[in-house]
Amino acid sequence: MEKLVVIGAGMASGRVLEHLFDAAPGAFDVTLFNAEPRGNYNRIMLSPVLSGEKSAEEIVTHDADWYARHGVATRFGERVTAIDPARKVVTGENGEVPYDKLVIATGAAPFIVPLPGHDLPGVIGFRDMEDTGAMIAAAATPGATAVVIGGGLLGLEAAAALRLRGMEVTVLHNSGHLMNRQLDEAAGYLLEKDLARRGIKVITRAGTERIDGDGKVEKVVLGDGTEIAASLVVMSAGIRPRAGLGMAAGLAAGRAITVDAQMRTSDPDIFAVGECVEFEGNLFGLVAPLYDQARVLAKTLLGEEDAFVMRELSTKLKVTGCDLFSAGDFAEGEGREDIVFRDPARGIYKRLVIEADRLLGAVMYGDTADANWFFGLIKDGTDISEMRETLIFGPAFQGGGGPSADPLAAVAALPPEAEICGCNGVCKGTIVTAINGGAQTLETVKAQTKASASCGTCTGLVEQVLAVTLGAAFEAGGAKPVCGCTELTHEDVRRLIKARELKSQAAVWQELGWTTKDGCHVCRPAINYYLLADWPLEYRDDPQSRFVNERNHANIQKDGTYSVMPRMWGGMTTPEELLAIAAAAKKYDAAVKVTGGQRIDLLGVKKEDLPAIWKDLNDAGMVSGHAYTKGLRTVKTCVGSDWCRFGTQDSTGLGIKLEKRLWGSWTPHKVKLAVSGCPRNCAEATCKDVGIVCVDSGYQIGVAGAAGMDVKETERLVDVATEEEAIEWSTAFIQLYRENAKYLDRPYKWVAKVGLGWVKEILSDAAERRALNARFDVSQSVYQTDPWAALVTEEERKSWSSPLMDMSREAAE
């Protein structure tokens, strides 16, 4: 067996090994060095790890088991100090390893701008798991502030992630606008505005002068004397190839190790791949060409023909909620023309650069749905003269069919060679072949083709290809099974529970072919909800299938204590209630927080004290606020016509009536309402699940708003004249949601799937509304109870959290 030594376990070399083991298992005896103390992980997903949206475990691409299975000798955490091409030996910190073929994949290092103070503790790059860990640790200190030097792709991802972790973040960028290599000025401006909205401060043309601090970073000083406090400075001013090892071994090099189109260096048995190589004067930093190189290198090692060619690259920013895309060349120039589309209200900007009837470049911000279609036109050099007039509106507006709002039609129209996954260079044809070969879910397509397996931004597109190819057999976005216990989707399960009248968990496990005995922590809460929502009288709620908060009627905190929140109807309270809350807070040593939902939260209550504090609050006339449930939370109101000069209706009164009608109901996810007394909207009703705005003529009911992970304005369901109608419509909407939505979909997600048109169609039928209200009443007859009052006797309260046996005193003696 030939001895293959690989230096560096990054994304490029990882892909080389995958290709080798796929094509010729056992052809090589592989030794893999990595200076980082771990194997290969998906480095481009470090930003989501930093923001907390993913865990470090989730981005591991090769685990110990994978290396063992392929017989790779791993030398992780060990640096290679020298290569001796004459003896064909690599020297690591722990000894020598001989090779027949050597692959150098040493990657790149973040470029640390040599400012005065750059070597202070607290100045770091953003490159690996250690850097990410250091930033997460820095963000955990209360009041910590960060400065990110460099407003490029990676710097902005770091800034957004640190902001999500609660840090004050300032981005310093030397150029006139952010991401100046990928964006034009207009898109850079929109991006800056978006970041400002997230609380990230951006200073362009910053002219950073020095970093100051006594023993550690304290501030960054700009050329104009501005000082910015910082406990963390992230340098994100580009990368430099780590080519030193190769250069020291005498390999030909420019700025990095020179390779030919077969990835061979100047030594015939030494190859290089990834960010440490230079090819025809080009350096590399994005993942797509690295994967191309990896494919070519694997072929070369196996003695097959292949050649690396440069191709057009596109860029997307992985910041949740920031949609931007750029590709090609978009500089202005002689003979070049622009087509620009702007929608300032929606924050949308699109610019196409055209030369001689060909699309040269594209920049889009705010709406990138058609990005891949444009990217295809750029790569293929398509003649666009025929569609020039409607080009900027995207593929849906091309061809004789006239305008079509159907995104599926656009995907269906893509040719087989259209690229779907930019990271892995997977085209539509490859995905369709995999689907026709039996890969019928996103997961299997991902596993077989690698499409959407890296940065994940093309997931929606892959799902659309699935939908187009499979037709009705695939439900877009809903095709994922509930969990590992079943192949069925949430939608399937809901439908079957109703259709087959499954009224117990056992019936679901049995009739629907669950592969586990009694489900898991993912499916059990969902099934429990579906059963109690569809069969309120027949099915009995199962506390053991509920998350701890819903079982203990309080929110568990990170230290194992709980938070307790009584209901304040419509946000109204009384001196007596406040006295009782204050007394309880003192008695149980709770921290007191006023919430965004117009209530008071008591934090830090011990589990054994819960029954007693509930009783105290119950005795003062208060009930559980259900702040811990997937259920009705709050109805926020303004003071309305009772007090306000501008109030048009009694918004507080309507809020209280709604809350009294709806409280206690279980829903697929939490539900929050608000009622504003006039269009000034002091109760912020237009970002709620159901939000009512009072006007002179009556009530405007909006639904499907959001103000969490996503921010979205409500959409108008209906305008009604009376309070009674407002309550009837709101209740009917919530019951429709209860009966149809997938567990853990907020109303805005559910409405996006079924369409507001469908919801309106059903609810506009008065008989249907009455029926929905009647079914809601049946459910409330069972579930509108205060869980705090369920423990009646002193004995019950005592035993509620008592241990089965207490041996602590015994042991102490």
Binding site: K517, H521, V548, I556, K558, P803, M807, R809, A811
Partner: protein
């Protein structure tokens, strides 16, 4: 083996848990849907989450804080997570739950 009678099986809800408080921390005693009993330290080795408050499924429990899943028989976390929590021998005799906590003695007070 030194078996201690800690209570009746019926005192533990099916697919639930009860605690045994000791001078060296709490032990969670689980009852599965199939009426088997298992005992684990009540602190998730990750961040100390109370395993007794987790959802019990099959012969494992999911920690309520960060969803790590522990196998009752081995105490090992499932999948990529490498933590292992301590297990204690447990059995049912004539409707009573018996526990052997001799391993506790080697443990430092929590």
């Amino acid at each position: 083996m030194s078996w201690i009678d800690i209570g009746a099986l019926d005192d533990i809800p099916p697919r639930g848990a009860r605690l045994v408080r000791t001078g060296k921390g709490c032990v969670a005693v689980f009852r599965t849907g199939a009426d088997e009993v298992f005992a684990l330290d009540d602190a998730c080795p990750h961040k100390g989450g109370p395993l007794s408050e987790g959802i019990v499924h099959g012969t494992s429990v999911t920690c309520p804080l960060h969803n790590r899943i522990f196998d009752f028989a081995t105490g090992a976390a499932q999948g990529a997570d490498s933590e292992v929590t301590r297990t204690y021998p447990a059995k049912i005799e004539a409707g009573r739950v018996l526990l052997d906590l001799s391993r506790l003695s080697g443990r430092s007070a929590a």
